[in-house]
Subunit: 105 residues, 2 copies
Amino acid sequence: MAITKKDEFTSEEIWLSDIAKALSHPARIKILKILNETDSCIVGTIVDKLPLAQATVSQHLKELKRVGLIEGEIDGPKVCYCLNNKTLTRAKSALDKLFSKIGCC
Amino acid sequence: MAITKKDEFTSEEIWLSDIAKALSHPARIKILKILNETDSCIVGTIVDKLPLAQATVSQHLKELKRVGLIEGEIDGPKVCYCLNNKTLTRAKSALDKLFSKIGCC
DNA sequence: TTATTTTATCGTATATTTACGATAAACAAT
DNA sequence: ATTGTTTATCGTAAATATACGATAAAATAA
């Protein structure tokens, strides 16, 4: 893009759009569903459940971690990922507020 | 990107990630807030409230319309946009489901 | 008709995203 | 020490997103 103008908005608008960006790929939605449904937080099992290369999954995990939707914990040579309840709660309430009104057309 | 693999996911995952993509820019979050808070659906007033050129705002409106979050109605030479309640409700419940569990780390 | 207003679209430049193989880094096991 | 396992990072190619000026299109107003 030419010059980004994202910093001309409020920090709340920027934060929520950043959360949405983290959710804007089906692989990342699926990762959250996997972490939601099972305790299999280990990267290897996540990779096995996705039709993507290990390097690509690692990139997607990094993006989810960047906005605080998930957290990683080192366990020997393995890494265990899990949902971050605090961020999920905050995102949910921000989205609820955005989606609260009815249409007008 | 090399080759997109988005079609290897479920249609629900693809749909929700597409909604998230539409929300992944602060200008589009702000447009939804404007439509949520006022009846000023006319494009001109939306442009006036954003720090972006008219062509850019039109692109953002197109993206929101693409996923059905808003609808446009022609009113003479003007166009009136509004929220689409049906899509908002569906998106809200899908996100609620995704955000229902607590973390594990 | 001729202008004016309003919005969408085209063309374009630059930035970011997505994907993967290759490699590095960190630990475990032999 | 060497080997194997696991995950992150680097480098890179191609696609997509963002921004704007210029222009088209469509209705109103003069």
